[in-house]
């Protein structure tokens, strides 16, 4: 499997995965059955946009509106990595 993903794909959190703010660590975290992933600001910004409605292209666009120049390739690679770990599911938006 390659890390290429379609710009029309629609990412959402994987089955059983939760995103929440952890007050005691002052960070967002991804929660899964046996894992806790503590997110940095970039990861949080991307994952908050993975709502099952926005496409990959929409997410890059929204990040650009918020942060200016955003390297598309890096966002794609991050989404692909999370999808391979099943932290995200990406359904075809076509």
């Amino acid at each position: 499997m390659t890390s290429s993903i379609s710009t029309t794909g629609v990412p959402r959190l994987g089955r059983g995965v939760k995103l929440r703010y952890d007050r005691s660590r002052e960070r967002h975290v991804l929660l899964m059955p046996e894992t806790v992933v503590v997110l940095n600001a970039t990861g949080t910004a991307i994952l908050q946009l993975c709502d099952g409605e926005r496409t990959v292209a929409d997410i890059v666009e929204a990040l650009r509106e918020q942060y200016g120049d955003v390297p598309e390739g890096q966002v794609h690679a991050y989404l692909a990595k999370l999808a391979e770990r099943r932290h995200l599911e990406i359904t075809d938006g076509d």
Binding site: S24, E84, R86
Partner: protein
């Protein structure tokens, strides 16, 4: 010193169990754990764990479904924002019970299987249970939960890994944990009948490696190596009093689920707040960090990597919890582990050996 809060609470709600697996990690003196915490006591423990920083609540046992208040406890944990994980044999996971837990906000279900087919699975479980487990696993998926299967591997089922993986695929499991037995509690009693041979392990590992590649992105395979065959020990629980907090049915809090027998003063949630237990109790402070280490751990370059291995295993095998975990090839008592491994690899040794069933409690 500022001590980070725990990431997870492992709530061992009861040691009662409809199964009788010989590899069980529950303590051998099961009758000492009958005075279980009440619903209100568990709810307080869960709330205090969340306040300390815990993010996950694993509801385990024994069989947690034997607690009639399970849904109430799930609801408390969910209200606290904890990720709730039910670790179950799936016996008693009826449609009504499943619906009740779903409504309470349960996030995830892990179902144990003992093998891929009824005869062997039921023999290992000591109870006719396989068919009900498969039904329950399907129910998990029907209600939209992610499904994790957990299979404890040992001498008497490790040759079935290809078939076990096929069964997991058929059930559309999201994850399968293939966890080689760790020799605590009843598993320690049964070690000679459970420890696989080197050849058995090598064959299983080839199958696992191939399946991981083939199923990448579809089903996650977590393979827990058998530490008796490892060169270095596992960093048990991610460090003593570092990440996980175990509370046993009668309220003793432990840094590791095998710490029942250690010669440290008990830290019971009926007597102390969880914050004191986590931060200050002798039970949780004794082996935190690396100051407690003797050589060879103390001067070892890997001391921050494997943290000396498992304190409970060191105590069980040597009688001194501050010794290097004997599975480490550098441990002075490594010969204990080597002798067990040599026995498991004797040419004439049968695969199937008699098992001592744990009682239902």
């Amino acid at each position: 010193m500022e001590i980070d809060g725990p990431l997870g609470l492992l709530a061992e709600l009861t040691y009662r169990c409809p199964l009788a697996c010989a590899y069980c990690s529950n303590p051998v003196e099961l009758e000492a754990y009958r005075e279980e915490l009440t619903t209100a006591e568990w709810q307080r423990v869960i709330t205090e764990a969340a306040e300390l920083g815990a993010l996950q609540c694993h509801l385990s046992g024994g069989e947690p479904l034997l607690r009639r208040d399970l849904a109430d406890l799930v609801r408390t944990a969910a209200d606290q924002g904890l990720y709730t994980n039910l670790v179950t044999s799936a016996l008693g996971f009826t449609p009504a019970r499943a619906a009740e837990l779903h409504d309470a906000g349960l996030d995830h279900v892990q179902v144990s299987l003992q093998a891929d087919e009824p005869a062997l699975s039921d023999r290992i479980a000591g109870s006719p249970s396989f068919a009900r487990k498969i039904d329950a696993a399907r129910r998990v998926r029907e209600l939209g939960w992610p499904l994790t299967l957990n299979v404890v591997l040992h001498r008497q089922n490790i040759d079935r890994v290809p078939e076990i993986l096929a069964a997991a695929e058929e059930l559309e499991a999201d994850r399968i944990e293939l966890a080689n037995t760790q020799y605590y509690g009843w598993a320690a009693v049964n070690r000679a009948a459970l420890l696989p041979s080197r050849e058995q392990l090598a064959e299983a590992e080839v199958v696992v490696r191939e399946a991981k590649e083939r199923l990448r992105g579809r089903m996650e395979i977590i393979y827990v190596i058998p530490d008796y065959y490892a060169t270095y020990p596992k960093p048990c629980m991610g460090g003593w009093g570092a990440r996980q907090l175990v509370v046993v049915p009668t309220g003793d809090a432990l840094p590791c689920l095998a710490a029942h027998g250690l010669p440290l003063p008990a830290a019971n949630v009926r007597e102390h707040p969880l914050s004191w237990i986590w931060q200050d109790s002798p039970m949780f402070s004794a082996y935190r960090g690396t100051d407690w280490m003797q050589d060879p751990c103390r001067s070892c370059a890997r001391r921050e990597i494997d943290l000396g291995g498992c304190r409970c295993q060191a105590f069980a095998l040597t009688g001194d919890a501050t010794r290097t975990d004997p599975v480490c090839h550098l441990a002075p008592e490594h010969g204990i582990v080597e002798a067990a491994v040599a026995e498991a690899n004797e040419e004439s040794r049968p695969v199937e050996l008699p098992l001592v069933a744990r009682p239902h409690a």
